[in-house]
């Protein structure tokens, strides 16, 4: 009996690997297990090795497992590429069709199961994924019936017979493996889960849902991996709320259209990845100087240029903080869990309007696409705050030809905001430096006033932002403080646990508000630690440099970097920190 295990299915892209993983995972999620998925895929639709690794546990998991218990292989390449991940008691379930063999030196159990043959006998080879699901269930000692719900949802459109055939495929797969029992089936029997209903979703789903719940009613975007699911969700859902999505001609149009729409009063977002963000840089500056709310999601992937478009990386950090020429107030938020991604999407909309600034909601490929179990998102956390926007003001008549002071210099830097269309409220907006009414002005004194006013807006944000740093710091005097951002949180937590078992005192800070940087919180934590290890998926230690800039303490800082396109495994962080301690 085991409390958790790690299962992976692999084959050629377009061969049904996705659906095998989906049926397996959705079912387990409904049984109350916690899941955490990792998809390995390439930038092509058909062909090329792809795999989906899913960790299943009776307790919360937020990271990929170090090793593998069960590998389901639809081709020999899957075994060759992945078998080394299996531990010594691991099991390979492979389609007998390709006469599977184990690579030399890999000592695991191989079950050759006629996935394709069983499926073909039942009517169509397409059902081979069902046979594989059945075979997997036998190893974990799950009843075949548990899959019925999901099978019905997928196939009931096609009639009862198709449902029955697919169920039969599952049963046949399970029976075949049971008959072949090589004496190790019981080893991976999965302990029962709590049966509670939880969500199973990717970070992009949560981000999109957050926007919808936060009042976003328009989106302008251009497709790109790994951001497109946000747009797809909005396309599906916005019409129910009177809103819509425009797929623009490029990301410059996406950003500037969003600026136009936000200026005119509708909460509008756009989402992209590095290449799109690079194109949006000039627009971000326009939002900054015109004080137009703007929310942009950057789902980071391997850069530069096209880089590693389907791989994990966290290398846009500096570009997001500093990107655009000139100086503007800008917010960069980096949620670390799916739950947080939802909340931060709502919050990004609020902050953009309250401070009248561009907000970058930073994600990374693993957070955006890693499918995982999530406690039901909470309605009570949703709040719409529009700051100084007055939608229906009763304004006194302006003197002829005079303008409303849209850029009035105020103590907190935020000016009253009204929308175009308002009677007696005419004002001008320009990316040229302007006076309080928006009219262009090159006066030195005005320039200073307006620049100071804009930059003043975010001064207090780190203090009022709820949980700018996710802190798990039990030790007054820690041996080490781990720091990370976005999806590395789970892997760091696990590595931390292992080090603590070995007697180390370990604190962990995950930065959620990247910019303006919560220097006070982070400094306190840095001061509490003998060593600081910054864990990030890039080659130039960008977060570490941001911390050094804001907090100092260079002498304590170490980095664990990974930029080969793969997310961190807990074991990698554990191992490499021990080399540093």
């Amino acid at each position: 009996m085991v409390e958790q295990l790690s299962w992976k299915v692999g084959g050629q892209q377009g061969e049904g690997i996705e659906s095998t993983g989906e049926i397996f995972a959705i079912t387990l999620n409904r049984l109350g297990y916690y899941l955490y998925g990792y998809r390995h895929f390439s930038s092509r639709i058909k062909g090329g090795h792809t795999n989906n690794k899913i960790r299943v546990s009776t307790e919360k998991v937020r990271s990929i497992a170090d090793d593998l218990d069960i590998l389901v292989a639809f081709d020999q390449e899957t075994i060759d590429v992945n078998a080394h991940e299996l531990h010594s008691k691991g099991i390979v379930l492979a389609d007998a069709k390709f006469n599977p063999t184990l690579p030399e030196g890999v000592d695991v159990t191989l079950y050759s199961v006629p996935f394709t043959e069983i499926a073909t006998d039942l009517g169509t080879s397409l059902m081979k994924n069902m046979v594989a699901v059945g075979a997997s269930s036998a190893i974990m000692n799950l009843k075949c019936e548990v899959f019925r719900d999901v099978v019905e949802e997928i196939f009931s459109r096609k009639g009862e017979q198709v449902v029955a055939k697919n169920m039969e495929a599952i049963v046949k797969g399970a029976e075949y493996v049971r008959e072949q029992d090589k004496g190790n089936l019981h080893q991976m029997e999965l302990a029962e889960a709590d049966g509670k209903k939880r969500m199973f979703m990717i970070g992009n789903d949560a981000i999109a849902m957050g926007f919808l719940a936060g009042g976003c009613r328009f989106m302008a975007a251009y497709p790109i991996t790994p951001a497109s699911e946000i747009m797809e969700y909005m396309i599906k859902k916005l019409p129910e709320f009177g809103g819509t999505v425009i797929q623009t001609e490029d990301e410059i149009a996406a950003a500037t259209m969003s600026i136009g729409a936000n200026y005119a009063g509708v909460r509008t977002i756009t989402a992209s990845a590095g290449p799109g963000l690079s194109l949006m840089m000039e627009s971000i500056g326009l939002a900054g100087i015109t004080e137009t709310p703007l929310v942009i999601v950057d789902t980071q992937r391997g850069g530069p240029s096209t880089g590693l478009p389907t791989k994990q990386e966290q290398s846009d950090l500096m570009a997001m903080i500093y990107g655009t020429h000139g100086e503007i107030p800008k917010v960069v938020m980096a949620p670390s869990t799916v739950q947080e991604a939802f909340n931060d999407a709502v919050e990004a909309l609020n902050i953009a309007e309250e401070y009248q600034v561009p907000v970058i909601l930073l994600s990374d490929l693993q957070l955006s696409l890693g499918k995982q179990t999530v406690e039901p998102l909470e309605y009570d956390n949703i709040e719409v705050r529009r700051g100084k926007l007055d939608e229906h003001p009763d304004l006194p008549e302006l003197d002829k030809g005079e303008y409303f002071k849209r850029y009035q210099v105020t103590e907190d830097g935020v000016s009253p905001r009204i929308l175009p269309g308002t009677k007696n409220g005419i004002f001008h907006v320009t990316g040229v430096e302007h006076d309080e009414t928006g009219k262009p002005s090159e006066l030195a004194s005005n320039r200073k006033n307006q620049m100071d006013k804009r930059l003043r807006k975010l001064k207090k944000l780190p203090e009022v932002f709820p949980t700018p740093v996710q802190i798990d710091a039990r030790y007054e005097e820690a041996d080490v403080l781990f720091v990370g951002f976005n999806s590395t949180r789970g892997a760091i937590e696990e590595a931390k646990g292992r080090l603590e078992e070995e007697g180390y005192k370990v604190n962990h800070a995950h930065i959620r508000l990247i910019h303006p940087f919560p220097a006070k919180e982070v400094k306190a934590l840095v001061d509490q630690a003998k060593k600081v290890i910054v864990v990030e998926n890039n080659a130039t230690a960008q977060l570490a440099n941001i911390i050094k800039m804001n907090v100092g303490s260079q002498e304590k800082m170490e980095s664990i970097l990974q930029y080969d396109g793969t997310p961190f495994l807990p074991g990698q962080i554990h191992q490499r920190s021990k080399e540093l301690l």
């Binding site: 999620n29 009042g215 328009f218 019409p239 009177g242 149009a253 500037t256 509708v266």
Partner: protein
């Protein structure tokens, strides 16, 4: 009812005396009053260039954006508030060089906005370089031996791209220009009005006199029918697009916002932002 005077503000344009853009400004002000707008009903979005300053010279809501992006900004404004009349305007460099991609797609998209280009066949603000509208052989700072690229024929291009309203005018003809802008505002879809607006400082070839000599008025072409796309194309080809008047209008094609599935009847900016609990719970359940 507002008169054109209500569309004046106190800002003195920084255009050179004699610049064609003055008349475009006056025409927009007159047209806006003539179609019955109040200043707050109008949003003028403009690009970067001498011409781009126009939004600051009209008493209406105005947004002076970045070079080449006037159309996406204008479309965003219209998407958020369909009750606003939106005029986009800018130079030939703004719309047909750096912003050409947006121009073609705005034409295809057919959102109900009016795009007025102040076409002086040159880059004015950056002091006289060639533009995609400069004729072959045209000598500028950036083409001292004369331009060796072909000028883009925007009127033909617009027709090919599926434009539903294409017009061209000349800034000396205030009356016609005003009327075309009115028709553009009233057209339910994307209207492109290209205005020959001479740059008296840097373009010594395409001058007021040159246009007076070379432009053919469509009114003078017997039997010209602006609903006939084929004829429009043939006429443009015959006259190398040096025509003025309403070239083509398709009143049948619905505008983008009339075609959106599920789109709100009210201005999108007036949407309810809060989700009710029942709806939210349904969204959550979809992931269970």
């Amino acid at each position: 009812m507002a008169t054109f005077k209500e569309f004046r503000n106190k800002v003195k344009p920084n255009w050179c005396p004699g610049c064609g853009d003055f008349s475009v400004q006056a025409s927009i002000q007159r047209a806006a009053a003539n179609v019955g707008l109040e200043p707050e009903d109008l949003a003028v979005i403009s690009g970067i260039g001498c011409s781009g300053r126009i939004s600051g010279y009209i008493n209406s809501y105005g947004f002076h954006g970045i070079h080449g992006r006037v159309l996406p900004i204008a479309q965003g404004v219209k998407m958020a508030n369909k009750n606003l009349k939106v005029i986009a305007s800018g130079g030939d460099g703004d719309g047909f060089a750096i912003g050409m991609g947006h121009t073609v797609h705005a034409i295809r998209r057919n959102l109900d906005i009016t795009y007025i280009v102040m076409d002086n066949q040159i880059y004015g603000l950056t002091k006289g370089q060639t533009s995609p509208r400069s004729e072959k052989g045209f000598k500028t700072k950036s083409t001292p031996e004369g331009s060796i690229e072909s000028a883009v024929n925007v009127m033909e291009m617009a027709l090919s791209a599926g434009a539903t309203f294409v017009a061209q005018s000349f800034s000396s003809d205030l009356k016609e220009l005003t009327s075309l802008i009115e028709q553009g505002i009233n057209h339910e879809g994307f209207s492109l009005i290209n205005v020959f607006s001479p740059c008296v400082t840097y373009n010594k070839v395409n001058t007021y006199d040159w246009f007076k000599e070379n432009l053919v008025s469509l009114d003078d072409i017997e039997g010209y029918d602006s609903s006939d796309r084929k004829k429009a194309m043939a006429t443009l080809m015959e006259h190398n697009s040096l025509v003025k008047g309403l070239i083509y209008q398709n009143t049948e094609q619905k505008s983008y916002q009339d075609l959106i599935h599920g789109y709100a009847d009210h201005a999108l900016k007036d949407s309810e932002l809060n989700l009710d609990k029942g709806k939210f719970d349904n969204l959550v359940k979809e992931f269970m």
